[in-house]
Amino acid sequence: LVFTEEDKYGLYSNLLFKYFLAEGIVCGHDLFVASAKEHPDNILKELPAPLLDDTHGKELSDEAAAKSEDFQDSMKIAWRYQNLPKMEASPTTYTKFGHYYDVSKKMSPELCQSVKWHSFYLHEELSFEPKMKAWNMNSGYARLLQSIQRIISQEGFDGSDAQKKQRNVLRIGIQSLGSVLWGDDVCCSETPEDPHSLTKFLYVLRGLLRKSLSACIITVPAHLIQNKAIMERVTNLSDMVVGLESFIGSERETNPLYKDYHGLVHVHQIPRLNSLICDVSDTKDLAFRLKRKLFTIERLHLPPDLSDTVSRASKQDLAGSAKLLSSGCGAVAIGKKHLDF
């Protein structure tokens, strides 16, 4: 269960959402798209087109070759750093895991139609059935859960149909959960009418995901949720929690430190399934940028601290963001302390 905290204007989280669905289509998985904001048909029309293997792989390796030539010169001042492995911002070798997409092009309708997909548009659904009254949950959420459960059992994703030889994966995408459009006021007030609806929904969804071959991404306008207790509980109930913070409209947009990037990626939690340990990467500082064709997530690279004004204005800010960036599945710097050099 991948829980994504939306950025303020929803631009980038929408992109991530579409990537998830597009990957599903390319892999031949079935899709289930639910939304209260946009009709799922429209969402599916806007998926990015997959890149053909050859051209993109070649582009990446060209770039990498050019970069590595520069670093051959030996360092004179910072010679101690010469022995460290070169930091690679983005993967240079074209790995076979997953696919790449071209954001400037739309996926062809033929490719979209090649998989079976189901949609749930809240405003087109019938009002809830009487059996669900006893659920004590927001009716929009309850209808969505019923719909998902019906698809899972009808299409045999839970292994109930022994006849079916080929098992497939169901990719579920739920857009803007918790927003007012779903009938939940958790984004409007600090003491919502039914504070447990969202968490109950997630628990039941988690149960459905665990007992079937499915994966789910949910985007939530977390910046609107005022009751932080609910956010903490929601984090506990999800496998993976990622937050996107875009720089639009914040003071970081003009901050020269961040000029190459469009926002930060905060990984609040990573899944620890079927194992005592989890796969922890070396670095926790991630940022994203949207180029004309590509949306990339890279290690955050700060340019060298050259001028006085830059350091004075942003040292406090950096300390704050370093605190955020150092949190992960392991630990976080407690309080306002940060390491000074």
């Binding site: 109950k200 109930l237 340990i277 630990a331 390491l339």
Partner: protein, 249 residues
């Protein structure tokens, strides 16, 4: 015997402690009732196999009673009408009562020794208690449930209870903090896993505080606190004194 152990984590994942206690008590020959609210049975089974215990076999020979919360919840909401004699343990999800009586009855029935049982001491293991709050149970109901379990399992049956909770200093989840603080006061042993104060580190995943609450049983005694650091690996967890991580030496 008759001890209440609280597993607590702050800003890190303390579930490795749950896996440890599960395999520890099963290997010791105790009868275990595991209320697993957050993960599926196969998750615990796979990890337990790495630790050398088979949950499937334990279930078959009646040593382990496993309540898979996720599955139970689905059965309750999507399943057919329940039989009158067997109410679902997660009964409180339906209807307006937020009492956890059905859950307690389930625990009591599972751990009451039956004819011909030769297990050593019953054990109740809960992972994790905060989920009950997320599902709409009131904090008082959760504390009542634990209280009833403690009386029944620790006092009457001379067994042990181990419960996992999450909490942290800046938490705004007041209900959760209330439950955790109350449980701390009544625990015999607290194992508190925390992330390192200096931030993330690859070789030391966190530190664990072991608090033996001797003051609970005897008035004049002081609590004993020990602190170790740990690193989690695929098949076990290594503990070492602070600052003495093998990566540093």
């Amino acid at each position: 015997q008759g001890k209440f152990t609280l597993l607590r984590d702050s800003r890190t994942d303390g579930s490795f402690l749950v896996h440890h206690f599960l395999s520890f008590y099963l290997r010791a020959g105790c009868k275990v009732c595991f209320v697993a609210l957050l993960q599926s049975f196969s998750h615990y089974n796979i990890v337990a196999q790495k630790l050398g215990v088979s949950l499937v076999a334990a279930k078959e020979r009646g040593q382990l009673v496993f309540l898979e919360g996720l599955k139970s919840c689905l059965d309750l909401l999507f399943g057919k009408e329940e039989q009158p004699g067997q109410p679902s343990p997660l009964q409180f999800l339906r209807g307006s009562s937020c009492e956890l009586r059905a859950l307690f009855d389930f625990v009591r029935v599972s751990l009451t020794p039956a004819q011909g049982d030769s297990w050593k001491g019953p054990v109740l293991l809960v992972d994790d208690l905060g989920v009950l709050l997320s599902l709409g149970a009131a904090p008082v109901a959760v504390l009542d449930f634990i209280h009833y379990c403690r009386v029944s399992v620790c006092c009457q049956l001379q067994g042990n209870v181990v419960v996992l909770v999450h909490s942290h200093e800046d938490s705004e989840d007041e209900e959760n903090e209330l439950v955790v603080n109350s449980l701390c006061h009544h625990s015999d042993l607290i194992l508190w896993a925390e992330g390192l104060a200096t931030g993330f580190c690859k070789d030391v995943h966190g530190q664990i505080k072991i608090i033996k609450r001797l003051s609970l049983r005897q008035a004049a005694q002081q609590d004993l606190v020990q602190i170790y650091q740990y690193k989690i690996q695929d098949r076990n967890v290594t503990f070492f004194a602070r600052g003495l991580s093998p990566a540093v030496l």
